[in-house]
Structure formats: C-alpha cells, structure tokens
C-alpha cells in the first residue's frame, strides 16, 4: 500500500527491438530514485512507460495501487484460470501449476476466444482497479531533457494552463500559486516573457515548476540537465535538490553522478533493458558488483 509506483514485468519492443526486457520495480512514497546506465540502455523508455508516453508491450504499471497501463492477463493467475485454454490444459491431465506455466511461457491466451468467464474476470478487475491515464498524468509530473515549454504561451500561461483547464484550480488561485513558485526560483520578472526569450536553465526551472503547479505525487526527470550549457546545470540541480526535502517522490534519470550520490535514496543501474543492480548510493557507487556497472562507473566518474 505504501508503493506509489509499481512496475511489473514491463517489456517494451520497438518493432523487433526489445528495449526493456522485463523490468520490475516498486517505488515507495517519498523515495528519490536515480536511474543510471549507458546511452541506449532503456532509461528514457522506462521512464516514459511510467506515464505511458510509451506503451509497454507487456507487463503492467500501477500508480497508488491503481492499474494505469493496459491489463496484462499473464500477470494474473486468477484471470488465467478462468480461460478456456487453462480448462483445456487441465483436462489434458496437466497440473494447475504446469498449466499456468505453460500458458505464461508460451503466451497461449487468445484475447477473444477464452470465453465469457475470462472476459468478465478482466472486466471486473478493471472495474475495481483501473485508473484512467490522463487522471494519473495530472499527478505524475514529467520534466524533459529539452524542457518542452509551450512556445505559444507566456511563462505564466505555461504554468497555469493545465491546472485551470483541468479545473483543479480557478484562474486566480493558479496565478497565485504560479507567482509564488516563480518568486521562489527568482524568475517572477519573466512571467510575461515567451520561452524563446529565456536561457536553457531558466526554461528548465520553469518546466519544473510547471509540474509543481499540479501538486504532483511523483515527478519524473529525464536527463533534465543534459541539454544545458555547463554553467546552467547548477541552478537546475539545486532546484531539484531543494525539492528532495519535500515528501515528493522523484524518479530521476541523470548522468550527474555527484548529484545522484547526494540525493538518491536508491540508485538503479539499467543495462540492456534490465535492472542489473539497485541499492543505496554507497552500495552502487562504492561497491558495485556487476562488472558492466564497474566499467560504466569508471567511465563516468
């Protein structure tokens, strides 16, 4: 119940290319997770699966114990047991366990041919557990490498658009909140500027508070400082560090190892689409076990 995000056996294919190869990860409320790994290892893809900017090919994502991805019947033994295929395997003298394994390992379920009971059990599960992704997204902030501020809106409009459109706040409250946050990051004087008039560091800090205006439970950061000139990295990292003192759950993909060591409650090393190692910063940075992680660390530190 204390898990805010559960990633269950997520696989992601781009065409034939398997980029995530079965990721399992549970994240507790308030945790600061830093994800590291070489370029192309699947860090962004994993992060983007969490708010479904990418659709997991199989596996499931839960947010506050609610299913926010599509249902993957292979993750539910009780649903499989309602299927005709399962009944057929049992009648062929298979044991229950064998039948389950056979179905899971060979992906034997046929979505439309498993009978009414199977369909109803899926329906019931979704009824009890499904949360619409757009609702979840309003509680899961995302910060992008390239900021993605809305180019046609002023800074203030960028901050208030979503809360007002989604009727989470009225215009005045949203403006008040946005103004407070702008003041906090020292950019109140930019409120009527368009994004093209800002530096990268300013854009990224505004992108961060744009998410904060939604009062998110979780924030995802995908290499938030990678597109910045070196002299602007500091201002963004210090704002992020400030956020870590709140109860906000943060999942951060970054190559800033010193920052990771400082703020992470857990560091996760991904390689080849799989979580190869996870632990406290001390465990991962000072006592890496995986040889590829050792190699990776020797290159980036």
């Amino acid at each position: 119940m204390t898990n805010i995000i559960d990633i269950k056996n997520v696989h992601k294919y781009f065409k034939q290319n398997e980029v995530l190869k079965g990721v399992n990860l549970s994240i507790k409320k308030g945790e600061k997770i830093v994800i590291i790994g070489a370029s192309g290892s699947g860090k962004s893809t994993l992060l983007r699966c969490i708010n479904r900017l990418e659709e997991p090919t199989c596996g499931e994502i839960y947010f506050n114990d609610k299913l926010i991805s599509e249902i993957d019947p292979y993750e539910h033994d009780d649903i499989i047991k309602k299927s005709k295929t399962y009944a057929r395997l049992l009648s062929n003298n298979m044991s229950e366990e064998e039948a389950l394994d056979t179905i899971k390992n060979n992906h034997l379920l046929k979505p439309i041919k498993e009978g009414k009971e199977y369909k109803n059990s899926i329906k019931k599960y979704l009824n009890d557990n499904y949360l619409d992704i757009t609702v979840a997204r309003s509680k899961i902030g995302m910060v992008f490498q390239h900021f993605n501020l809305f180019n046609n809106l002023t800074v203030l409009e960028n901050l208030t658009l979503a809360p007002v459109e989604l009727k989470l706040m009225n215009k005045e409250d949203a403006t008040k909140k946005a103004t407070e946050l702008l003041k906090r990051i020292g950019l109140l004087d930019k409120k009527d500027e368009y994004p093209s008039k800002l530096s990268g560091g300013q854009e990224q800090r505004i992108a961060i508070i744009r998410s904060l205006c939604m009062n998110p439970d979780v924030m995802l950061f995908d290499e938030p400082t990678s597109a910045l000139d070196p002299e602007m990295v500091g201002e963004v990292l210090s704002l992020m560090e400030e956020l870590t003192s709140s109860g906000l759950t943060m999942i951060i993909v970054t190559h800033e190892m010193a920052f990771a060591r400082k703020v992470a409650s857990k560091v996760i090393y991904i390689d080849n689409g799989i979580i190869q190692e996870e632990g406290t910063p001390e465990e991962v940075f000072d006592n890496p076990k995986n040889p590829r992680l050792k190699d990776f660390l020797s290159k980036v530190i």
Partner: protein, 235 residues
C-alpha cells in the same frame, strides 16, 4: 490602335461593363465559398490523419482520407469538374453548386496536406508536455499545437486560395452562359471577345481584375502573418 479602341468600347458599353462586373462577382463568390469548403474539409482531414497515427480506431477514416487526397491531387481539376457536373451531380439547375463543390473538395485535398504538414512541423515535445500534464490530446492540439501550426500554414493556404481563384477560370469548360452563376470573369472576357471579334483587350481587362485581387490578397496575407508573429513575440 485597335486595342485602345476596343478598350474604350468595352468601358463605354454598359452591356460589356455589366458582363465584366457579373463575371467578376461570380468568380469571387465561387472562389470564396469553395475556399470555405476547402478549409473546413482540409482541416477535418488533416486532424483525422494526425490523430490516426496513434489511434487505431481512426484507421478506416484515415484510409478514406488518404484515398481522397490522393485522388483529388492526382487528377486534373478539369476532369474532376466534368465528373462533378455531368456525372455525380447531373441535376438540372444544380450546375453552379456542383462547380463550387468540385473546387471546394479539390481545394480541401491540398489544404489538408498543408495543415497536416503545419501540425507535423510543431515539435513533438509540445504534445508530450501537454499530455504529461494530464491534458487530453484534443485539448493540447487546440491550445498548443494548432496555434503554433497556423503560422506555418498561413502562407500555404494563401497560395492555395490564389491558385483556386485562377483555377475557376476553367468553369466555361462545363458551359457558362450570361445571367447564370457560372458566368465567371474568364467567360465574360471571352463573351465580349466574340462580340467585338477581338480577344486582346477583353483578356487584358480580365487579367487586370485577376491580378488586382491576387495582389490585394497577397498583401492581406502578409499583414496577417506579421500580426501572428508579432502576437507571440518569438522567433
């Protein structure tokens, strides 16, 4: 000198002046309504095509749209005009509507491609940022993508309107007689030409009318574009 005599004759003869005026107004009217049809249709088709990329439910509408744009951009307008007037809508008294519909539907095919290209030219990160905040794709499209796309699309739409205005000159191919709504500027000029047995002066007059409209319209588009770029202050 015959040319100037002809000019004077056309200008001083009420009947000829009325031909020109009638033709000019019909040309403008037909173009205008066809443009409106083209914009509405083009916009709808573009939106369907854009959303169909991520939405399997739109596969069939998308296919229909693709067939539509391919067919109408891949065949001559003159041929489409014959088909509309003499086959699809060969209904007495319906000719001018068939003509307008034909130009509108033809224009929609081109407009849809311009709008689609305009939407695609907006950075994909804009849509991702919108939906990541919990906004729907449609809302993000409306509030973020389209306002940015429109700037890229206006010049292309302007060109399409100009092309359409000039294309209406082929109306006479399906027959246009004085006093009907299909009597366009080009037909006015050729009617006068036959009456005075010379094509030069009437054609020049018609050409001037086309030119002036195109010029004014180009000018308006330029102002409009400037306004759009001014209002968002960037670039």
């Amino acid at each position: 000198m015959k040319f100037f005599q002809d000019l004077v004759e056309i200008i001083t003869t009420a009947e000829y002046r009325n031909y020109i005026l009638e033709g000019f107004l019909n040309t403008l009217g037909i173009t205008f309504i066809a443009v409106v049809i083209g914009l509405v249709l083009g916009f709808l088709v573009a939106i369907i095509k854009v959303f169909a990329r991520a939405n399997k439910a739109l596969a069939i509408p998308n296919t229909i749209c693709n067939i539509y744009t391919t067919v109408f951009r891949g065949t001559p307008v003159a041929l489409q005009l014959f088909i509309f007037v003499f086959a699809l809508f060969a209904i007495p008294g319906f000719k001018v509507y068939a003509v307008i519909l034909c130009f509108g539907v033809n224009s929609g095919a081109y407009v849809s491609e311009s709008i689609r290209a305009g939407i695609m030219s907006v950075d994909g990160g804009q849509m991702e940022a919108g939906i990541s905040l919990g906004l729907s794709e449609i809302k993000t499209m409306k509030k973020i993508i389209l306002p940015q796309a429109i700037k890229n699309v206006i010049p292309a739409i302007g060109n399409e309107v100009i092309a359409l205005l000039k294309e209406t000159a082929i109306i006479s191919m399906v027959g246009s007689t004085v006093g009907t709504l299909t009597f366009d500027l080009n037909q006015a000029s050729s009617t006068i030409s036959y009456a005075i047995s010379d094509f030069f002066a009437p054609s020049i007059i018609a050409a001037l009318f086309y030119l002036v409209v195109v010029y004014l319209f180009t000018f308006l588009i330029k102002i409009f574009e400037k306004e759009l770029h001014k209002s968002d202050k960037h670039n």
